[in-house]
Amino acid sequence: MRAKAIRGDRGERAERAQRADGGGRPDDDGRPERTPHQRSEREVDATASVIRARGLTKRYGDVLAVDHLNLDVRPGEVFGLLGPNGAGKTTTILMLLGLSEPTDGHAEVAGFDPTRDPLEVKRRVGYMPDDVGFYGALTGRQNLRYTARLNGIDRRDVEGRLDALLEQVGLRDVADRAVETYSRGMRQRLGLADALVKDPSVVVLDEPTTAIDPAGVAEVLDLIASIARDRGAAVLLSSHLLHQVQQVCDRVAVFVGGRVVAQGTMRRLAEQMGGESLQMEVGAQGAPEEVEAALRSIDGVREVERDPHDTRLWRVAGARNLQPRLAGELSARGIGVWHLRRIGDDLDEIYMRYFAKEGPGDDSAA
């Protein structure tokens, strides 16, 4: 089996991790200034990661839900699994928990193989499923107590633990109300507490911010960050809402059609995906022809076009860091600049661009 070969050879493993981490992109090696640092980081990965997947594959009939996934998550890190609905995020999570058997490949979570030792894995992994549900007739505390008992936590330890957790997620006041009276956000926070009941070394959160209001999202994200920071647990979270999780994730993997198309820190991802080109949005006062001529005269500008929705805006594509020169040139020509924004560096836009570029089912990419 392939997994055995990987285990036997540490060097090969690091190399595989290397290849996996770059998402197999050919331009990965085109950045010599980053490579040494990245490599040493990855070698640590291979030995210290608490979640490790190599060639993890899940096939449902003809559909390849997850295609040779390689993944490394270290303790104290928040790792984001990003991708549209149906990209295979939940399937991956279920395989890591031993709730679904991989068709091929190997995973190791908290030192155990989820396929062979699912109980050992489940003992150490706190899991909050997508669209988490609770027993509506029971109170929040009763629901958590049930989880604690299923984990075999000694009765003497349970109550103090539950109090602390309920306090932490801000549900102490409503802990003795039936869960059916909870709002969606409250349930989500109860889900987080539920995942923490067993004092896990790995926390897996499936879509933790879906369907809650912005204030609730901020609270949940705060909590997630504190789980990794204060408990030193590895957090793996999946989401399709990139702008929500980009503030908490240390690293992300972009997942499309069952495959990782990009992986790395947020900044690296932005560079990787943005390339050398940059888009800007310019709002200028003046005759359109003059503005266009001015913009085109700037060295490095490749493309200028009117915004189709707002005629006062211009879209400029060109080399990096044109902003100061744009502003300078325009004001030198007596054209007032009232708006200047870099677009395309926001990860959400990158993410959208990725989907446009490599939508599900497109096999030529990566």
Binding site: T90, L94, L97, L99, S100, L119, E120, K122, R123, V125, Y127, M128, P129, D131, V132, G133, F134, Y135, G136, A137, Y146, T147, A148, R149, L150, N151, G152, I153, D154, R156, D157, V158, G160, R161, A164, E167, Q168, G170, G191, D194, K198, D199, A218, E219, D222, L223, S226, D230
Partner: protein, 344 residues
Amino acid sequence: MTAQPETLPARRNERSEPSHGPATPRRRSPGGGWRVIADKEFGDHILSVRLFILIAVLGLAAVAAVYSTTAYVRDNAQQAAGSTGLFVLLFSASSPSSQIPPFTTLVALLGPLLGIAFGFDAINGERSERTLPRLVAQPIHRDDVINGKFAAGLAAIALVLVAIVVLVSGFAFYQLGIVPGPDDIARVAAWVVATVIYVGFWLAFAMLCSVVMRRAATSALAAIAVWLVVTLFASLLTGIVADALSPVPADATLDQQVANAQLNLDLSRISPGELYSEATAYLLDPTTQSVGIILPSQQPAAPSILPFEQSLLLAWPQGVALIALTVVCFGAAYVVFMRQEVRA
């Protein structure tokens, strides 16, 4: 949520104090997962509306049946004086003039409902509440879920049945002043056990439905449909099959007729209802010596009263067959559940 960072260190300090135990919580040895589930499920059953509805329905039926029987028993008390079966008669007899069937018939009819009520939403209920992924992500075996739920359902069923039998006994004591003897108590207790097994079969069947069908309503409907078919049409079906396999021509010999009847009986014993009613006949009627085909030549000269041990021995095969049917349903539910994806 800005208060978070302050609360966290405090919590950690608490945990490091000896009064709060070690940093990692103490854990029981694994293997008791089903008991935790059974505990919780039984608690749910006890407080559920359905338990009260079932106790009310079965209790009313029981009181009505026994009330009509008491009059009959009182009239016949003179003949029956001295025999041990008077108390047991309350459960199994009914007055010929009354429209109300005896208590045992009512239980045979309504018992399956009890099993279906506690099982039809066992697994798909967890699915629709979306608690199943969370439940199976805990360190328990997947069969613990089914085992625990079955144990809890069986306990709830036993509770309902014992409550009703005690109610009926109390009623008999109050109305007739009958004090059951040890033989009576043993017979009724054995009958309650047989009933729990019988209802347990329907519980296992309903749980199988709840595993196979994703919606609780569909599963309840399917279970009830099978229950009705088995109760109402089983004898018709077995008759048709028996006639096809072992035809009885117009000039049939005695052997042919016996063969046909025997086949019919054997086929009907696939039905749990038939098995249960045979077991009931043995256990509650001390004069029953056989539920099979008895030719006039084989009939004993005078009906003799069997001791309880002998009746129990006669009912044993039926009990074993009922348990086997239950195990088959249970095993099927188990296999299907193990193969299912957690995600709906």
